[in-house]
Subunit: 128 residues, 2 copies
DNA sequence: CACTTACGTAAGTGATTGCTAACATCTGAT
DNA sequence: ATCAGATGTTAGCAATCACTTACGTAAGTG
């Protein structure tokens, strides 16, 4: 109805996918080892079809890979998808923290020591 | 309603917040400098109340900070919230995935795993 | 072939979401 | 106090979501 989205929104689908608690739990469950759909569903309170739909969502967003063996379908987290997601977040906010610190320095030069800039390692982790 | 710098928002709320395209756009808009609510709304196709609600969501999740001056409310992205979100993602998927990826590439030929990766042999599988 | 196992798919439902329009609140100036 | 500007808040609605039940599909076994 409104304007068009413009973005194909692969990143958006990923974000919406991991915004679901059950889907995040699934991702963690198959993070290091592949697991059959039924076995995954057995560890949740919801029914198997619900898990199946979650698996479909995760697979279509590239966060999960599927492998068929016999009548089973083995799922496993796809590191590439997760890396893509983190890359998107990193590109969205390149170094906002650093810029904020620079800005804070600029406006706080009213009272504190004017001795250059001081290290501010007490903030939250700045890694990654 | 008291609202100070108290990030009591869960990671899920943050994820759901940034899953919204308009909210992500707002975050990018006020990433480096603060902006009034009306001015933010003026850059979107939706109405001001809609933007106001988005601002409330972002503020309550700790992704945005508010500052009142006169009749205006100036918003700005909160780097601490963004860092918290990225820290959550990092903790959710440790480097295990990257190591697994490298491992998968290594064994994609034929070489067996140097480390025992098979431990959870719940259902029988033709370990081929 | 029938029968079972394992899984996806379709249809329907209650809850949530994002939006708009109208109303309320707060601030500063006349 | 009265007015005007800027913003938050409420009520209501269409769309989406996550879930369940029932059915369909595919692979293995007798």
């Amino acid at each position: 109805m409104g304007l068009e989205d413009g973005a194909k929104a692969t990143a958006e689908e990923m974000l919406r996918a991991i915004a679901e608690p059950n889907r995040r739990a699934i991702l963690q469950l198959v993070a290091t080892e592949e697991m059959a759909a039924g076995e995954i569903a057995a560890r949740f309170a919801v029914t198997r079809p619900a898990i199946s739909q979650h698996l479909t969502v995760l697979r279509e967003t590239g966060l999960l890979s599927e492998r068929r063996v016999g009548t089973r379908r083995l799922y496993r987290a796809r590191p590439e998808g997760l890396a893509e997601l983190r890359a998107f977040l990193a590109s969205m906010w390149p170094d906002t923290l650093e810029r904020f610190k620079a800005h804070a320095e600029a406006v706080s030069q009213a009272a504190p020591a004017p001795t250059a800039l001081k290290e501010r390692a007490s903030t939250e982790n700045g890694g990654d």
